[in-house]
């Protein structure tokens, strides 16, 4: 079952996989492009280009809403979640491991062309942080908050702003699944009133605020704001480390497609969720890191050839996010392409006879241009 990949990869195999072949010779040895190292903390350059497995229970716990749709379909098809270890992710992990938590939070912006794997890199980092025990604030796609919103309510907290109950409650639900234990540990520091009758006392666990938001959908956006503020204030103390992971951060400073009742366009500042999120992304707090991704696919009113931070964020966003550490993500290198191709072959995803030949592989590489998304879409019908 060892196929094309093995001739090129000369790096030594993990001890675990070789042990498993000796113990159970009947089981197929996993080819060299897999690694059984499922803890991202131990991923090094040696693992570059290889795919590691995330157990499905962890996937449900850590990523209730983070993974790209096509990847979720792939998980369901293959019954396992395999993520490739790539250089940008390793770079980011190295920075995070070496970061000093007393300093203000460093901002990282992952950028690259369409379909090169920015969201997957972000998910890799999120997985690492959740394994390490950080509190992960994962916003799957900020673009979902600035477009296609059916209900807009005027905020009770601040007259000018607008609420989005549906999106806020959806996010709160997912936040609850991913960070259960933190919600019991963190306590509120102020009293919050939700209306005439409901209020949350000081010192109650944050879980109550979340329940409140889920129960009373009208005040969900305010609940989100409260959660964010509490977490930000308390991360200073150092009882936990905070990771703010935002996908599609350019949505916060662009334009929206929403309109008020008098048909005037809504600017992003007028949305409560966006306003609070902007406060989170500012680096005036310490004890964690902010990792963001730029996304052109969901962005509004931006040309499809734009991928640099300057183009996608605009002047406002760039000034707000400045200074940041840019992390470019490129197409597959030849080695990564080999592993991806080998993985598809191994899982019998490529059924066409010609796909098994060297020529077929060269064709796939040419036609997809080593772009992960193109390769995925090409391999689908085959």
């Amino acid at each position: 079952q060892l196929d094309h990949g093995c001739a090129l990869h000369t790096a030594a195999r993990d001890g675990l996989s070789s042990v498993s072949t000796q113990d159970v010779p009947a089981e197929r040895p996993r080819a060299v492009f897999h690694t059984s190292e499922s803890d991202p903390a131990k991923h090094t350059e040696q693992h570059e280009g290889r795919l590691y497995n995330i157990p499905l229970e962890e996937v449900k716990a850590v990523f209730p809403h983070g993974l790209p749709y096509r990847f979720q379909q792939q998980i369901r098809t293959f019954n396992e979640a395999r993520v490739m270890v790539r250089r940008p992710a390793l770079e980011l992990l190295a920075y995070l491991k070496g970061s000093n938590l007393a300093h203000p939070a460093v901002r990282y912006v992952i950028y690259g062309e369409r379909g090169t794997g920015k969201t997957m890199t972000l998910c890799h980092v999120v997985h690492y942080c959740s394994r390490q025990g950080w509190l992960v604030l994962h916003i799957p796609d900020a673009h979902l908050w600035v477009k296609n919103c059916k209900e807009l309510l005027q905020s009770s907290y601040n007259r000018d702003r607008l609420d989005q109950p549906l999106q806020a409650s959806g996010w709160l639900r997912n936040f609850k699944t991913s960070n259960e234990r933190f919600l019991q540990e963190i306590k509120t520091q102020k009293k919050y009133t939700w209306g005439k009758r409901e209020s949350t006392e000081e010192g109650r666990p944050l879980g109550e605020v979340v329940e409140q938001g889920l129960a009373r959908v009208r005040s969900a956006s305010d609940a989100v704001g409260v959660v964010l503020r509490e977490i930000k204030q308390q991360s200073h103390r150092g009882s936990f480390r905070l990771l703010v992971a935002v996908d599609g951060v350019n949505a916060l400073w662009g334009q929206t497609t929403l309109r008020k009742e008098d048909k005037s366009p809504v600017s992003p500042e007028e949305l409560t969720l966006v306003h609070n999120l902007r406060k989170m992304v500012r680096n005036d707090w310490s004890g964690g890191a902010i990792v963001t991704t730029l996304s052109q696919t969901g962005s509004l009113f931006k040309p499809s050839s734009a991928y640099t931070p300057h183009e996608l964020l605009g002047k406002e966003g760039f000034d707000a996010l400045d200074p940041f550490v840019p992390i470019p993500v490129a197409n597959y290198s030849p080695r990564e392409f080999e592993s991806c191709y080998g993985y598809y072959l191994e899982r019998k995803w490529l059924q066409h006879e010609k796909a098994h030949t060297e020529d077929g592989k060269a064709e796939l590489q040419f036609l997809s241009g080593s772009n992960p998304r193109q390769l995925d879409r090409l391999a689908g019908p085959l």
């Binding site: 050839s305 020529d359 060269a362 064709e363 590489q365 040419f366 036609l367």
Partner: protein
Amino acid sequence: SLRLICTTTAVQRKNVGASGPEKYTEAFIKKQIEEFNLGKRHLANMMGEDPETFTQEDIDRAIAYLFPSGLFDKQARPMMKHPTEIFPEQRKIQWGEDGRPFHFLFYTGKQSYYSLMHETYEKFLNVQKHQDQLIAKDLPLQKEKRNLAGSRWLTKIELEEMLLEKLSDDDYSRFIQLLEKLVALPCADIAENYIQKFSKEVSVQLQKVVIEPLQYDEQGVAFSTGEGKRKTARATAVVYDNGTGKITVNGIDILHYFPVLQDREQLLFPFQFLGRIGKHDMVCTVSGGGRSAQAGAIRLASAKALRSFVTEKEVEFMRQAGLLTVDPRVKERKKPGQEGPRRKFTWKKR
């Protein structure tokens, strides 16, 4: 029997000379020739050139300058040529004043055809006699093979033009059979001059095309260029050796220039056919046309450039695969009375 499988429009033209008795008298033709020569001198004076050295090409240029025409059919434009080219050749009267025909085979109806058959058979018998003489003297028979592959016999229409009378298919095939028999004889070189009157050179398609040799740039990397077109798109491609399969179009990577898979497949085709997918780099420029037309143009250009890297046999394979042929399809003209080139207006009963 020989039959033409593919005919050109020139061959399908009607032979006017063989039809019916003469329509123009000889005196008329002579007058036309005089008028033509006078007109030529007038034209030369008008254009400020020397009347003595005024050739037919100069006449054509002058007429095109003085009477510009936008008509598509070249034959419909104004032209000034020698009357022998304009008035078709036709037979003069075959009998004298006393009504007695000149030729002895006149009453057969096809006098020139039968006389031709007689002549050919005479040559045939001469060759056979010569051959018998050589065998009697025990001399070796000369055998110089004619180049059969590069020549063809006259077509029926060309023969009709030569003889100035109509032939039937059967007559024509009989004549060709006789010629073949004559050529098959070993000592046919005696009658070579006679046979050459009825044969024409045919050049093999590939011999016209010259494959350029590889050029080398500063680093010593071999490269070659090719041009291609499709509909309104024109493309030039430069294919470099020792590459990784990267392709750039107008300075942009193909993944960005051709987001559609179909276009990229078109670009892949020549390389895939030759099995050289990851071995060459390519830099192309393209303009005009639409997305598909540009892809087709680049494909043709790259195939032409790859000819220099590849053996002749593979070039022949490429030609048969259709990679080296210019696609003749262009947008068809809209006709009046119809909505499009083929679509008619909606038919209303009343």
